[in-house]
């Protein structure tokens, strides 16, 4: 490409046909109009949502607050909250897409209302979003918020890097959102298999959107993983040995390790696909020595550890929640830690089970099949540990526990179907049918999503200082659980009946009744999401009745409950010193939970930095330029990225100090408030009388 060529097309291949209603106006056939209306409706939701945000921020003059209190903040708690906010927005979009797909299939007997292309975009964005822009930000946000406090640290090891990771993830999510309005997303599924996604079969911008949004997000995740792992290794409070860490922190550590080592294969796969598409390389093409099978290999080398990246933090959340709401020590802590570590290693040895049918020899399939069954063992260990934690405990039926029961039951079912699929000869029968769709949703929805929603309910009072409404939470939880059952159990049957996955239409009338059950289930899940949002609204309105400023609404066990709610930005006025597992439960038992030390010290905190939002903006511009071949934008944003890094290298004076006096004043104020708070028994846990201080009730403490 010549220099002149760069400026010849200032907008690259961006033209009016990128708009979602263009085709409908040019060729107004019935199909085009329906698909155009659906796409335009979705696009206008994005545009209107963005406009409403801008108007509200301007109207209430919150731009400054947004910039200085949130976007540039290196505080791990705020970064965590922003991650979760992204996750909820993306969840809403991907869930609506899911409902649309189920609707299409319910009407899909020889037709339906969506075009195959549109349907393919729906399942591609649904999968991409749910994995990379819902589950990943959600768990990253929760770990960000909770983990540093659980180990008694003031922040993560590299706070500004944390903010950069958030920026990159947000940039990737932004690209996916923009693809609704400008151009089209990939039709190649969330794993984007070539040769279909090669330039010769998908010449449009779709796979490029997919490539660059994933690349941005996976870069962010790698950096996050490094940050978390170093934090857990190097920032633990004195006395917090590895085997004294709360189980959630253990799972956070293992997830971080997986992120560090599993993201590079994805980066290699997407980068090679990009080189194929942009520069005519031959990694995965049909001709000239390309080998598309290596893409499947590379992608699942990432993809399988990825599912454990998603599930492990949930396991940690369930461990904390079940132990807390059973009023008991977590049963088999050591075995849970061992199981988590075993899963971490084993997850790198099973990737071939995603392509049993690709044609490698049978012995290899057998080896990976056995490894896949083996990984079920440590997971089974965990299930027993959780049940034994509840056994003879005083189980309280709060919203997180209802989710946990749903999780245990459904997850075991899903695991069983997984063991079936781990057998290559069975896999050959149901491969590429909706049986598989049912299986992995059965792991991902009760496992990952329920876990994250539990975490949201459990730690929300810590983050915002008031509890979430129990009644609407219960409605939502039951809708999720039963909606899930209705939506996905039929797919097992349909899969065995032979319905292939990703089918826009079918000609077998016997599929119709079960498709309708699944559609109704999807609607029920939509109700669940609606109640979740409504719950938030109700809770905010009644926040004053549900305040828990003392900070310990659930009679918690680990250190994050040992500060106020919301916590000060430095988390702990004095870094706690840890003498055993369940440090806070132990302190409460010994009656030394809320004490003020003799001396306070100055606390050094990182200054706000624009690195995060700036990197995010540059990443977005770079991705957008690459997608649309706007080369000047690509060059400019690349130079901007390099310059930003260099300038940051020259930055000094990056910390500020909170004086000891201020720390002392704040801490004593909180201690006084705690002392003025009546301790409530667990019976009143969900009533307004719970102000965040737990009455002493015999709770077991780990050795």
């Amino acid at each position: 490409m010549s220099i002149a060529g760069i400026f010849e097309h200032p907008l690259g291949r961006l033209g009016p046909d990128a708009l979602p209603f263009w085709q409908m106006l040019q060729h107004p056939t019935e199909g085009n109009i329906i698909n155009g209306c659906v796409a335009t409706g979705a696009a206008s939701m994005v545009v209107i949502g963005a406009l409403v945000m801008v108007v509200l921020l301007t109207r209430y003059r919150r731009w400054g607050v947004l910039w200085s209190d949130w976007l540039t903040s290196p505080d791990h708690k705020k970064i965590g909250i922003m991650y979760v906010a992204i996750a909820f927005v993306m969840l809403a979009r991907a869930l609506i897409e899911a409902v649309l797909m189920r609707a299409q299939q319910a009407f899909g007997l020889s037709g339906g209302f969506l075009s195959p292309d549109h349907f393919a975009q729906l399942f591609s964005t649904h999968g991409t979003i749910m994995i990379f822009f819902m589950a990943m930000p959600f768990l990253t946000g929760i770990i960000n918020y909770v983990m540093p406090m659980q180990i008694g640290a003031r922040d993560v090891s590299f706070p500004v890097l944390n903010s950069i990771s958030l920026g990159l993830t947000a940039a990737g999510a932004g690209l996916v959102m923009v693809s609704l309005v400008i151009g089209k997303f990939s039709t190649g599924g969330w794993f984007g298999y070539p040769p279909f996604t090669e330039a010769s079969f998908s010449p449009g911008v779709g796979p490029d959107y997919w490539i660059w949004s994933l690349t941005l997000a996976s870069l962010g995740s790698t950096l996050t993983g490094i940050n978390f792992a170093v934090t857990i290794y190097k920032e633990r409070a004195p006395g917090m040995t590895l085997m004294r860490m709360p189980l959630f922190t253990w799972t956070a550590l293992c997830t971080s390790i997986l992120m560090i080592f599993a993201m590079p294969p994805l980066t290699v796969a997407t980068a090679q696909l990009a080189l194929d598409r942009y520069l005519g390389f031959h990694y995965f093409t049909n001709a000239l020595g390309g080998n598309m099978m290596n893409f499947a290999n590379l992608f699942w080398l990432f993809g399988h550890p990825e599912v454990y990246i998603l599930i492990l933090p949930s396991f940690g959340v369930f461990s904390e929640v079940i132990s807390t709401f059973s009023g008991k020590v977590l049963y088999g802590y050591r075995s849970l830690v061992m199981a988590t570590m075993a899963i971490t290693v084993l997850s790198f040895t099973v990737w071939l089970h995603h392509f049993f049918t690709m044609g490698q020899n049978a012995n290899m399939n057998a080896a990976f099949g056995i490894a896949s069954m083996l990984i079920g063992v440590p997971t089974g260990v965990k299930i027993y540990d959780w049940m034994l934690t509840m056994f003879r405990g005083r189980v309280r039926f709060t919203v997180p526990m209802v989710y946990s029961f749903g999780f245990i039951l459904l997850f075991v079912l899903g695991g069983m179907s997984g063991i079936l699929l781990a057998n290559p000869s069975v896999d050959y029968q149901v491969h590429n049918t909706v049986f598989l769709v049912a299986h992995f949703h059965n792991m991902a929805v009760p496992g990952v999503l329920f876990g994250m929603l539990v975490a949201y309910h459990f730690w929300f009072p810590k983050a915002f200082g008031f509890r979430l409404d129990e009644r609407w939470g219960m409605v939502s939880a039951l809708c999720w659980i039963f909606g899930f059952m209705a939506a996905f159990f039929p797919l097992y049957v349909l899969g065995v009946m032979g319905l292939p996955r990703r089918t826009v239409a079918y000609s077998e009338a016997s599929y119709v009744p079960l498709e309708w059950v699944a559609f109704l289930g999807a609607l029920l899940i939509l109700v669940a999401l609606g109640s979740l949002l409504w719950q938030l609204r109700v809770s905010i309105r009644h926040r004053d009745e549900n305040r828990v400023a003392a900070g310990d609404p659930w009679n918690g066990r680990s250190l994050e409950w040992a500060t106020s709610a919301p916590p000060p930005e430095y988390n702990f006025a004095v870094i706690p010193s840890v003498e055993g597992r369940d440090a806070f439960a132990r302190a409460k038992e010994e009656g030394c939970a809320y004490q003020s030390p003799d001396t306070y010290r100055d606390i050094e905190l990182p200054r706000n930095s624009a690195m995060g939002p700036v990197t995010g903006a540059i990443g977005f511009a770079l991705g957008f330029g690459l997608v649309w071949h706007i080369w000047w934008l690509v060059i400019l944003s690349f130079l901007a990225a390099v310059t930003t890094l260099i300038v940051r290298g020259f930055a000094r004076d990056t910390t500020r100090v909170v004086p000891a006096d201020e720390v002392r004043r704040e801490h004593l104020r909180w201690i006084a408030a705690v002392n003025a708070t009546t301790a409530v028994s667990r019976v009143d846990e969900c009533r307004p009388v719970n102000d965040g201080r737990a009455r002493y009730e015999a709770i077991g403490v780990a050795p």
Binding site: Y233, I257, F261, P265, N291, M293, N294, N297, L298, L301, V345, F348, T349, W351, L352, M358, G359, Q360, N361, M364
Partner: protein, 112 residues
């Protein structure tokens, strides 16, 4: 002999020698396989094995003398390296195994 050296000077001299040793060994380990390939004369399979072994030895030399990795340091660094080596082995050998099997079976299928 000169006057006794201070601890700091001793440490400095020791670390200097470490780099010299590293560079020397690395040089030998680079030149030998290069010479073998350049001037030839060994059967191909033996040559490949020799190259592989010498490369691994040189890897250890670099780790030891340039990156100062040993068994006496903080354990988590060593754990990290060993864990990375394990995963690298699994991923690379798994990839080669799978792709080789596929390639073999593709050529089998192509034959009449």
């Amino acid at each position: 002999m000169s006057a006794p050296l201070s601890d700091r000077d001793q440490a400095r001299r020791r670390e200097f020698h470490s780099y010299v040793w590293g560079a020397g060994l690395a040089l030998v380990l680079t030149v030998v396989p290069f010479a073998l390939v350049h001037w030839g004369g060994i059967p191909r399979i033996d040559l490949l094995v020799t190259i592989g072994v010498l490369a691994l030895v040189q890897l250890l030399v670099h780790f030891r003398f340039f990156l100062h990795i040993g068994f006496r340091q903080k354990r988590e660094d060593l754990q990290l390296i060993l864990f990375s080596a394990l995963l690298l082995t699994i991923m690379v050998s798994g990839t080669i195994w799978i792709m080789a099997s596929l390639a073999l079976r593709m050529t089998l299928a192509a034959q009449p």
